[in-house]
C-alpha cells in the first residue's frame, strides 16, 4: 500500500504523470499571453480579425493532418509519406476537377489511394517485420517520383483549378467547422471505440496487446487508414488555399506534423498518454509562432530558429526520465 500512493502523491507525482500535457498547455498559453501583450507594442495585435483569419488559414492544414496522425503516433509509429500524399491528392483533385467539373471524383479517387497506402503502410511493419517508418519512406520516394514524372508530362511546375471556383474552402468559418467535425469524429473513435483503445494498447505494449486478443495487423492498418482519410481532407484545404497544386505542394509537411504533435505533448513512443488534444494544442502553438513572430519583426527564416528552441525546451521537459527505484 505504501508504494501505490508514493508515485502519485504531491505535485511531483502529478508532474511526472502529466508533465508532457502540462508543458504543452503552458506552452500554448504562454504563446497566447506573450503575443497578446507584445504584438500591440509594435502597433499590431494577434486579436485583429485579419490576423485571426491568417491564423486559421495557417493552422488548418496542419491541424487536420495532425489530428488524424494521432492514431498512427499512438502506435508508437510515424508516417513520413504524408507530405507527399498531400501533394498527390491536391494535384489529383485539381486535375480531375478540371476534367470533370466537380471536386467529388478527385476526392473519391484520393480516398481510395489513401486507403490503399494506409493498408500497406499499416500492414508492412507486421507482415514484413520492418520498422513502419521504412515503408512510409518508400512511399515518400515513390510519390516524389510520381509527382516529378506527372509535372514533367504536364510541362509545368503547377496546375491551377480553372473549371470552377472553390470560394467555400477559403472561408475561415468553414475551415473551423470541418476541423471541429474531424476532431469530434476522431476523438470519438480514439476515446470511445476499440479502434483507439487498441491502438494505444499496441503502442504501450504490443506483446501484451496481442496476448489480450488484439490483431496487430488489423488495428495498425485501421490507424493508418484513418490518418490517410484525414490527410485527404487536409489536401482539399491545401489545394483550396490557392486553387492550385504544384510539384512542391506538401513538401516537409510530415515534419511539421511531427513537430506539432511533440509541441502538443504527444509521447513519441505512443501508448496510453496519447491524446487528440495534443494535435490541436501543438498545431495552434506552431501556427501562432508562424503568425506572431513576423509581427514582432522577426524575419521568416529566423522563425525556424525560435521554433527549434521551443521544440528543444518541450522535448527536454517531456522526455521520460528514468524513475527512481521503488522499494519492494
Amino acid at each position: 500500500m505504501s508504494e501505490e500512493t508514493k508515485n502519485n502523491s504531491g505535485l511531483i507525482g502529478w508532474m511526472k504523470k502529466n508533465g508532457a500535457q502540462a508543458a504543452a498547455y503552458s506552452g500554448l498559453i504562454l504563446c497566447v499571453v506573450f503575443f497578446s501583450i507584445v504584438t500591440p507594442l509594435t502597433g499590431e495585435s494577434i486579436w485583429l480579425p485579419a490576423k485571426l483569419e491568417a491564423l486559421v488559414r495557417n493552422v488548418i492544414v496542419l491541424a487536420l493532418m495532425s489530428v488524424g496522425a494521432v492514431f498512427v503516433y499512438s502506435l508508437g509509429a510515424m508516417d513520413i509519406s504524408i507530405g507527399k500524399q498531400v501533394g498527390l491528392y491536391a494535384t489529383l483533385i485539381v486535375v480531375v476537377g478540371n476534367a470533370t467539373g466537380s471536386l467529388l471524383w478527385g476526392i473519391l479517387l484520393s480516398l481510395v489511394i489513401s486507403v490503399i497506402i494506409g493498408c500497406i503502410n499499416g500492414a508492412a511493419g507486421e507482415v514484413l517485420h520492418i520498422h513502419p517508418v521504412v515503408s512510409s519512406l518508400v512511399f515518400m520516394m515513390v510519390l516524389t517520383g510520381v509527382s516529378s514524372v506527372t509535372y514533367n508530362a504536364i510541362g509545368s511546375r503547377n496546375v491551377a483549378l480553372s473549371a470552377f471556383k472553390v470560394g467555400l474552402l477559403k472561408e475561415p468559418w468553414f475551415m473551423l467547422l470541418v476541423l471541429a467535425i474531424e476532431v469530434l469524429v476522431v476523438s470519438y473513435l480514439f476515446n470511445f471505440t476499440k479502434l483507439g483503445k487498441n491502438a494505444r494498447a499496441i503502442g504501450a505494449n504490443s506483446v501484451s496487446a496481442q496476448q489480450s486478443g488484439i490483431s496487430l495487423v488489423k488495428y495498425k492498418m485501421i490507424a493508418y487508414v484513418i490518418m490517410g482519410i484525414c490527410v485527404v481532407v487536409a489536401s482539399l484545404f491545401q489545394m483550396g488555399y490557392t486553387a492550385s497544386a504544384s510539384d512542391s505542394t506538401g513538401t516537409g509537411f510530415e515534419m511539421n506534423v511531427m513537430v506539432a504533435l511533440i509541441l502538443g505533448g504527444m509521447p513519441l513512443n505512443g501508448g496510453m498518454r496519447s491524446k487528440v488534444s495534443c494535435a490541436l494544442i501543438g498545431s495552434f502553438t506552431y501556427a501562432l509562432l508562424d503568425v506572431g513572430l513576423p509581427m514582432l519583426g522577426v524575419q521568416p527564416n529566423q522563425v525556424f530558429v525560435i521554433k527549434a528552441i521551443l521544440f528543444l525546451v518541450v522535448v527536454v521537459l517531456t522526455c521520460r526520465k528514468k524513475s527512481g527505484t521503488l522499494p519492494r
Partner: protein, 502 residues
Amino acid sequence: MVNEVLFEARNMHKAFGPTIALKDVDFTLRRGEIRGLIGENGSGKSTIMSIASGMQPATSGEMTYMGKPWQPHNMIESQHAGISMILQEANTISGVTVAQNLFAGREAEFSKFGVINMFKMYRAAEEMLRKFGITHIHARDQIDSLTFEDRKLTEIVRCVDDDTQILVVDETTTALSLEGREILYKLVHKMADEGKAVVFISHDMDEILEQCTDLTVLRDGDIIGHLTREEMDAPDAVQRIRYMMVGREIGGKYYREDYDSSHSDEIALQMDHISFGPIRDFSLTLHKGEIVGFGGLSGCGMHEIGRAAYGLEKLEAGSVTCNGKKITDCLTAIQHGIGYISKNRDSESLILDAAIQENIVLPSLTALTGPAGFISPASEKKLSDGQIDAFRIKCGTGKQYVNTLSGGNKQKVSFGKWMAKGSEVVIMDCPTRGVDIGVKQAMYALIEQMKKDGKAILMISEELSELIGMADRIIIMKDFEVTKEFTRSADLKQTDIIEYMI
C-alpha cells in the same frame, strides 16, 4: 575476522512524500554472515539494501562500512567499494556477447590505443565463468541467445569479483533454474567462508531456512525481529516467521485441503498430438473443473506447452481444440474462452504504462462494444471496479497506473483481466512468482474457487509444493518430454517428484 562488523546502519529512515518506507531502523551485518531479509511486498526489505548499495539515498540516518562512514552516490561506486547487488529484473545489455556484458564499463582493461583486444576479453571472460563453475555459458555467446536464467547467471558473474565484500541477492533465485541456484548457493557459502557477507532478500521461506545463518524479519518498514540459526531450526520456526511477517495468525489453510481429484467429464481443452520446435507428439485432455499442474526445470518445455495451448506457437502437426473449435492463434483462443497469464508478467501479461482499468478491460473490449462501436466509460469502470473489489487490489482508483503497484497487486490485475472476460479455461504460467504469502494465500483460494465454478486450469509452476498443494494431476516434464504423471494424493512428496525432473 569473522564476526567483525562489516556494515552498519543507524536510524536509517526513508520516506517517499508522506509514505514511510523505512522507520529509523538499525541494521548490522557481520563478516561470515549469510543474512536473510524477509517480509511482505513493501515491507522495506529491499529498501535497506538498495540504500546501502547506492541505488537511492536515505532520507536520514548514518551508515558505516568497513569502519568508515559510508555514503554511496550510485551503484557503480558501491560496486567498486565492494557492495554488489543482484536485482530481480533482467539487467543485461542486449545485442552483444556474454563477454561484452561481463566487462561492460571495463573495456579499458583490454584496449590499446582505443582498440579493444576482443581475444583477450573472451579469454578473461571464459576464465571468469569457469571460476564460478559455469560450463554451459560461453564468452562468445550472444547474450540474447541465452535463456533468462542464464542471463541472470551472467549478471551474477559480472557483479561479483574478488573484492566484493557484501553481495546482495534480491529475489534473484525465483528467476534461476535449479542448476543456477546451486551455483549461486555455492558462491554464497564460499563468500561467507572467506569472511565476506551475503544478504539474501527472498520470499522463499524454504530457501532462507536452508541457506541463511541469520534472519531478519521486516514489516511495514520496521525490523520486527532477528532469528539465529538455532531459532531457525526450531520446529515452529516457519509459523513464527510467518506470524512476524504478517502481524497476524495466517490461517492454517494455505493450499487446498481436499484430496478429491474428481472433475466434470466434459472436455474443456484438448491438445491432440501436437508437435512444434523440440516438442514432439504431445497430447493432453483438460476437463472442466480440473486443475492440471505442469512441473519441471525451466527449459523442460512446460512453458512452451502453455503457450501452445493459447495459440502462441506455430504447430507443425496436431491441433489444439476448445469446445470443438480449433485454436489457431490467441485471438481464437480468447474467443473460445481461454485466458493466459504469462510468466513474464511485466513484459507480456500487463501493460505497465497503462491504468489498472485499461488493463483489466482490454480482452473484454469487444464484449463491451455497443452500437456504433461505442464503449461506454461507465461499463468499463464497472467491469474493472468489480475485479478490483473481488481481488482487493490495493489502489486509489482504477485510473492508477499499473507500474505504481507492487508485484502482488500487479499479478492480481493480470488475474482480473481474465476473470472479467469470464474465461472458462485459464492457463497460468508461474502464477505466484514474486508474490508474498498473504497474496499467495488469496490466490490459492481463488484458484480453488475457480475449480469449484467448473473452470479448467492449466497451472505451470516451478514450485513443486504449489503443484502438490493445488493440482488434481501433475505432469512432470524433462527435456521436452513428459516423464511422469501423478494424481492428487496426500502422500505425494517433493522428493518423489524431483527424480523425474532431473
